[in-house]
C-alpha cells in the first residue's frame, strides 16, 4: 500500500576484529592478534561464510538475492587480512546477492605491514579505503597508543591516494590527550593538502571500562578543555568548507561525490546485514547484534546456530523514532516527503511537542521541505536525538 520509491536493496558489513594491539580508548569488538596468524585468519573467514549462510536462511532471508549496494570491511583492523582473503570473502558475499556493489570500503591502518597490501586490496575489488591516521604528531600517536608513526601515516596515506581507488577517507581524532587546537588544525591542513577527498573527524570519547576511562578516574589523563574542543570543532567545519568539503554528517566531510554510501545506509535506515563478532544488522523490521566474544560466536556457529546476542522487532513507532534520531545525524536532515511516504503522516503527528520545543531552542529548522539541525543544533545534537528516543 505504501509505495516505496526504491526496490529493496542491501549493504553488507563484515567485522574483522583483529588488531596488532589494542588502543587504550577503543571499545569496539576487538582482540589483539599481532600480525594475525594465517591459521586464525583462515578459520575466521570460514566461520564468516558459515554465518552468512545461516543468516540468509534465517532473519536475513528477506534480503537474500537483493541488489547489493555496498560492502564495508570494518574492524578492528581489516588491513591485517591478506588481499586474497578479502577477495575470497567479497566473492562469497557477491554470490548471495544481485548486482555490482557501488562501493567496497576497507578500513586500513597505515602501518608498514599494511601499506604493502594496498595494490592487492585494489585488485581484490576494494574501491574505497578508510585510513586510520588519527593524528600526524608522534607524541599524540604515542599517547593514543597507536601502532604507527606520523611519518608512516603520511607516506601510507600517499600510497593509498596513488593506489587507484575511487575514494579514500581519513579518520582523525580531536581532543586527544595533550593535543592543542593548533596541532589538530595543522594535521587537518596536511591531510587536505595531500588531496584526501573524505575526512571523518571524531572527538575522542572516553568509553567506560577502557584504560583511558580508568586513567581519567585516577586523574592521570589530561584532556583538552571544552573551549579547545569547541574551537577545534568550529575551525574544522570552517576550514573544510573553505576547501570545498561538505559536512554531510556530524563527523563526516566529503568533496562532491565522495560521501560514503555505506555509512549513509545507517542514518537512512536502509537494510544492512552485518556478519562477524559484534556486528549489527537491520533487515526490514528486525535489528540484531552478534556476540562480541569470538569464542562464543564460534561456538554458536559450530552448533549450527546464529551467534546473536540480542535482537528486537521494531514497531512502526520505533521506526519513526529511529528515522528521526538517525536522520538528524545527516546535515541534510529528514525529508518531509520521504517521511510522509514511509509513514503516511507528518513527523509532527507523533512528535509535535518535541519538534516545537527544539525549534524554539533553535536546535532544528525547516528548510526546503526538510527538517535539519541548525549550526547550534550541530553542537547540541544529543539534545535533539534525545527527544526522539522512548522513555
Amino acid at each position: 500500500m505504501l509505495a516505496r520509491t526504491r526496490a529493496p536493496d542491501v549493504g553488507v558489513y563484515v567485522h574483522l576484529p583483529f588488531c596488532e594491539r589494542i588502543c587504550p580508548y577503543c571499545d569496539f569488538a576487538v582482540e589483539p592478534a599481532g600480525r594475525l596468524a594465517p591459521e586464525l585468519e583462515r578459520r575466521y573467514l570460514e566461520w564468516l561464510e558459515v554465518e552468512l549462510d545461516l543468516a540468509l536462511a534465517g532473519p536475513a532471508r528477506p534480503a537474500a538475492g537483493r541488489v547489493l549496494r555496498s560492502v564495508y570491511f570494518g574492524g578492528g583492523t581489516p588491513s591485517l587480512f591478506e588481499p586474497a582473503s578479502i577477495e575470497r570473502l567479497l566473492g562469497t558475499i557477491r554470490k548471495r546477492f544481485a548486482g555490482e556493489p557501488e562501493e567496497v570500503t576497507l578500513e586500513l591502518n597505515p602501518g608498514t605491514g599494511e601499506i604493502g597490501r594496498v595494490p592487492g586490496f585494489r585488485a581484490a575489488g576494494v574501491t574505497r579505503l578508510s585510513v586510520g591516521v588519527q593524528s600526524l604528531r608522534d607524541e599524540t600517536l604515542r599517547k593514543l597508543g597507536r601502532a604507527h608513526t606520523a611519518a608512516e601515516a603520511l607516506s601510507g596515506l600517499e600510497a593509498c591516494l596513488r593506489g587507484g581507488f575511487e575514494s579514500v577517507s581519513t579518520d582523525l581524532i580531536f581532543g586527544a590527550p595533550g593535543q592543542s587546537e593548533s596541532e589538530f588544525l595543522s594535521d587537518l591542513e596536511r591531510v587536505i593538502r595531500l588531496g584526501v577527498p573524505h575526512i571523518s573527524a571524531y572527538a575522542l570519547t572516553i568509553e567506560p571500562e577502557t584504560p583511558f576511562a580508568r586513567a581519567r578516574a585516577r586523574g592521570k589523563l589530561a584532556l583538552p578543555d571544552e573551549d579547545t574542543l569547541l574551537a577545534a570543532g568550529r575551525r574544522l567545519r570552517v576550514g573544510l568548507a573553505a576547501s570545498g568539503f561538505t559536512q554531510y554528517e556530524i563527523s563526516s566531510f566529503a568533496r562532491p561525490g565522495h560521501a560514503s554510501r555505506h555509512n549513509q545506509r545507517y542514518w537512512l535506515r536502509r537494510d544492512v546485514l552485518g556478519i562477524g563478532v559484534g556486528a549489527a544488522s537491520l533487515v526490514e523490521s528486525s535489528r540484531w547484534k552478534n556476540l562480541r566474544a569470538r569464542s562464543e560466536w564460534e561456538a554458536r556457529l559450530a552448533d549450527g546456530r546464529l551467534p546473536v546476542a540480542e535482537s528486537e522487532s521494531l514497531t512502526e513507532q520505533d521506526a519513526r523514532r529511529e528515522t528521526l534520531f538517525l536522520g538528524f545525524r545527516r546535515l541534510a536532515g529528514i525529508s518531509r516527503a520521504a517521511y510522509l511516504r514511509r509513514f503516511a503522516e507528518a513527523p509532527e503527528r507523533r512528535f509535535g511537542a518535541e519538534i516545537r520545543e527544539l525549534r524554539e531552542l533553535e536546535l532544528i529548522e525547516d528548510r526546503k521541505g526538510r527538517i535539519r539541525l541548525t549550526e547550534r543544533g550541530i553542537l547540541f545534537a544529543d539534545e535533539v536525538f534525545l527527544r526522539f528516543v522512548a522513555c
Binding site: Y13, G74, S200, Y202, A203, T205, E226, D227, L229, L230, G233, I250, S251, Y266, V272, G274, G278, A279, A280, S281, L282, R287, K289, E310, E312, E322, F325, L326, L361, I378, L379, F380, A381, D382, E383, F385, L386, V389, A390, C391
Partner: protein, 600 residues
C-alpha cells in the same frame, strides 16, 4: 490467659534488639535454622540495607518453660532511632513487659533512657538485658551501675547475654515467663481490640494488628470500628509466627492480625477500637496520643502527571506509618504536591525512599523546615509550615520558633567541643550531670531549626561517634528571623525559600546557592542563582552554560547501543524537575541540608 506473655524489646539504636529477637525465634523453634538470616524481623530492603529497624515487628512463639508448661510468647521488636519512637510507644500498648537491651560495651545511651521512661510510664515490667557480653571491651559492672544511676531502674535482676553467640538466651525466656505478668482483661466481656499497627495488603486490603483487650473474636465474625461505626466481615484472622497463620478464634490478652476486605486505606486509624457488630462494646479503648510532627517538607512527583498515584501511595503508607502527616499543597514552581510532617530527618528520608520503592514513584522533596508561629501587626496569628508562606516583613510583629530540650549523653572529655557546638547553634545550657569517668549527661535548650539541619552529624564528629542524643519539644520562643529567597534566573522559586536567623542570612544564603551550583548540571544557557532577603540580593553565583553536547563517535551500525545510551541520558533528565527552563535534580532542593558550619 495465664499462659500468655506479651513483651517488647526496646533499646538504644544498634544495641542488638533485632539480633536478640533472632535468637529467641531460633531457640523456641519458631524459625528453623534453614530460614536463618540476620535480623530476621527486619523485612524491608531498606532496613536490611541500612542495618536498622524502622518498623516494629511482631512474632508469636511457643515455649515450654522449665516449669514444664507451654507458653505463648508474643514478641515485638522495636526500632531504636528517635525518629521511630512512635513505633515503640504504640507497641508497648500491646505488652505487659519489656526487655531493656543495653550494649554491655557502649553502656546507657540517650534512647536507652528515653525508651525505658516510656515503658515505666506505661506501667510495664522492665527486665534489663546486658547484651554483647562476648565483646572483649564489654564492662557489665560499669553498665549495671549506669542502669541504676542514669536510667533509674533496679539492675539487680539484669540478665547478661550475647545475642551473637546465644549465651544466656534461655534465661531470657525464663525471665519472660516468670517476671512479665500475664495479660489481664475479661474474656467474657464484649469484644474490644486495639489496632496498634496496620498496613495495606494488595489482596486482603487493610491489615490490622490488634491487641485483644476484652472479649473474643471468631474467624468469620462481623466487626465494627468504634470511631466510624462502619461494619465489615472478617476475611482473615491469624497470628504472626512470624508469617501469617490463620486461627479460628482469639481472645483477651492475645495479639492477632485481622483483615476484613477494607479497600479504603483511610477507613482505619491507628488507635482504633474494633468491636463485634452483634454485641458492640459501649465504650472504646483509650487509643493513642496524636504525634507531633517535628519537620515539614514538600513532596512532589518528578513527573507532574503522577500526582494521583502519589496521593494513593501516601494514604497507603500512612496506614503503615501513622506518624506521617500529609496535606495537599501547591507550589508555583513544582505544581501539585503535599506538605508532609515527619518526626525527624531520617523519618523524612525513609518515607521518601519507601514511597519510591514500594510504589515506584520518582519524587522531589523540598528542604525541611520547622513550623514557625507568626504574630501579625493586625493582631492575627498564623502557623507557617513552609517558608514561602511567611507574610511580608512589614506585616510581621513577631516570629516565634520551636525550641527543644535536648539530652546529650557523652564521654566527659568531649564536653568542650559539644558546648561550643551548642553555643554556635544558639543554645542555652540547662544542666550537666557527670556519672563516673565515662558518662556525662548534658541538657541544652536549642532552636529546633538549628538541630534539624546537621546537628547530629556534627555532634557525632565532635565526639568521634561517642555521643547520643534525644529531645522533646519545649516551647515557642520569639527570635530575630527572616526569609531568604532563592532566585533562578531572576525568578524566586517558592519551594527553595528558607527561614533563618537574620545574622546568618548572608552566610546561609551563599552556602545554599553554592551547594546548589554543585548539583545543577550545566544547561544550554547560563543559570544565575541568587539569594535575597526581601528585595535585596545578598549572594549570587552562576552555573555556566554548556557549550556543546554531542558524542559524535562512530558507532557503525550499532544503532541499538546508541539508542540505549540516549535513553539512559533521557531517563536521567526525567528524574530532574523543570523549573521554568532550568532542570533541577533532587539533590539541589536539599542543598540547604548540607550547609556545614564551616560555610556559615
Amino acid at each position: 490467659m495465664d499462659r500468655i506473655r506479651n513483651f517488647a524489646i526496646i533499646a538504644h539504636i544498634d544495641h542488638g534488639k533485632s539480633t536478640l529477637a533472632d535468637r529467641l525465634l531460633e531457640v523456641t523453634g519458631t524459625i528453623g535454622t534453614r530460614q536463618k538470616v540476620d535480623q530476621f524481623l527486619d523485612k524491608m530492603d531498606l532496613e536490611r540495607e541500612r542495618g536498622i529497624t524502622i518498623k516494629a515487628q511482631t512474632a508469636r512463639m511457643q515455649y515450654r518453660a522449665r516449669d514444664g508448661r507451654d507458653y505463648i510468647l508474643n514478641l515485638i521488636d522495636t526500632p531504636g532511632h528517635v525518629d521511630f519512637r512512635y513505633e515503640v510507644s504504640r507497641s508497648l500498648s500491646a505488652c505487659e513487659g519489656v526487655l531493656l537491651v543495653v550494649d554491655a560495651a557502649q553502656g546507657v545511651e540517650a534512647q536507652t533512657v528515653a525508651n525505658a521512661e516510656l515503658a515505666v510510664a506505661a506501667g510495664l515490667e522492665v527486665i534489663p538485658v546486658l547484651n554483647k557480653i562476648d565483646l572483649p571491651n564489654s564492662d557489665p559492672e560499669r553498665v549495671l551501675q549506669e542502669i541504676e544511676d542514669v536510667v533509674g531502674v533496679p539492675a539487680d535482676g539484669a540478665l547478661q547475654v550475647s545475642a551473637k553467640t546465644g549465651a544466656g538466651i534461655h534465661e531470657v525466656l525464663e525471665a519472660i515467663v516468670t517476671r512479665v505478668p500475664a495479660p489481664q482483661g475479661d474474656p467474657d466481656a464484649r469484644l474490644r481490640a486495639l489496632v496498634f499497627d496496620s498496613w495495606f495488603d494488595p489482596y486482603q486490603g487493610v491489615a490490622m494488628l490488634v491487641r485483644v483487650v476484652d472479649g473474643s473474636l471468631e474467624g468469620r465474625e462481623r466487626i465494627r470500628l468504634c470511631s466510624s461505626g462502619a461494619e465489615y466481615d472478617t476475611s482473615l484472622l491469624g497470628v504472626l509466627v512470624p508469617e501469617v497463620q490463620p486461627v479460628d478464634r482469639t481472645s483477651a490478652g492475645e495479639v492477632a492480625i485481622l483483615c476484613a476486605s477494607i479497600r479504603d486505606p483511610r477507613a482505619v486509624q491507628i488507635g482504633e477500637t474494633v468491636t463485634a457488630a452483634r454485641e458492640p462494646a459501649p465504650e472504646p479503648l483509650g487509643g493513642f496520643q496524636p504525634v507531633q510532627s517535628m519537620v515539614w517538607s514538600g513532596l512532589y512527583p518528578t513527573d507532574p502527571g503522577a500526582y494521583e498515584s502519589l496521593r494513593v501511595a501516601i494514604s497507603k503508607l500512612q496506614l503503615n506509618d501513622s506518624a506521617i502527616f500529609a496535606e495537599p499543597e501547591t507550589s508555583d514552581a513544582l505544581g501539585f504536591g503535599f506538605r508532609c510532617g515527619y518526626l525527624g530527618l531520617l523519618h523524612m528520608e525513609v518515607t521518601q525512599e519507601r514511597l519510591e520503592r514500594e510504589y515506584r514513584l520518582d519524587l522531589i522533596i523540598t528542604a525541611p523546615t520547622v513550623v514557625y508561629r507568626v504574630k501579625c501587626r493586625d493582631g492575627s496569628e498564623v502557623s507557617i509550615h513552609r517558608p514561602s508562606d511567611l507574610p511580608e516583613q512589614g506585616e510581621i510583629d513577631e516570629i516565634a520558633e520551636p525550641v527543644i530540650l535536648t539530652q546529650i549523653h557523652l564521654p566527659p572529655q568531649h564536653l568542650g567541643g559539644v558546648l561550643a557546638l551548642c553555643q554556635a547553634r544558639r543554645g542555652v545550657q540547662r544542666d550537666l550531670a557527670v556519672h563516673g569517668e565515662r558518662r556525662a549527661v548534658l541538657r541544652y535548650e536549642l532552636p529546633l531549626s538549628e538541630v534539624v539541619v546537621d546537628f547530629y552529624d556534627r555532634l557525632k564528629s565532635v565526639t568521634r561517634g561517642y555521643a547520643s542524643m534525644d529531645y522533646e519539644l519545649l516551647e515557642y520562643r520569639p527570635a530575630d528571623l527572616c526569609r531568604v529567597d532563592i532566585l533562578l534566573n531572576g525568578e524566586a522559586v517558592d519551594a527553595l525559600s528558607l527561614i533563618v536567623h537574620r545574622e546568618s542570612a548572608h552566610g546561609r544564603g551563599l552556602a545554599v546557592i553554592r551547594q546548589m551550583k554543585k548539583h545543577i548540571p550545566r544547561q544550554m544557557f547560563d543559570v544565575a542563582l541568587q539569594a535575597s532577603v526581601g528585595s535585596r540580593v545578598i549572594a549570587r553565583v552562576n552555573v555556566k552554560a554548556l557549550r556543546k553536547n554531542v558524542t559524535a563517535k562512530c558507532y557503525g551500525g550499532d544503532v541499538t547501543r546508541k539508542r540505549k545510551l540516549l535513553e539512559k541520558q533521557k531517563a536521567g533528565k526525567k528524574r530532574m524537575r523543570k523549573v521554568g527552563r532550568v532542570e533541577i535534580p533532587q539533590a539541589a532542593f536539599l542543598a540547604v541540608l548540607s550547609t556545614t558550619d564551616g560555610e556559615r
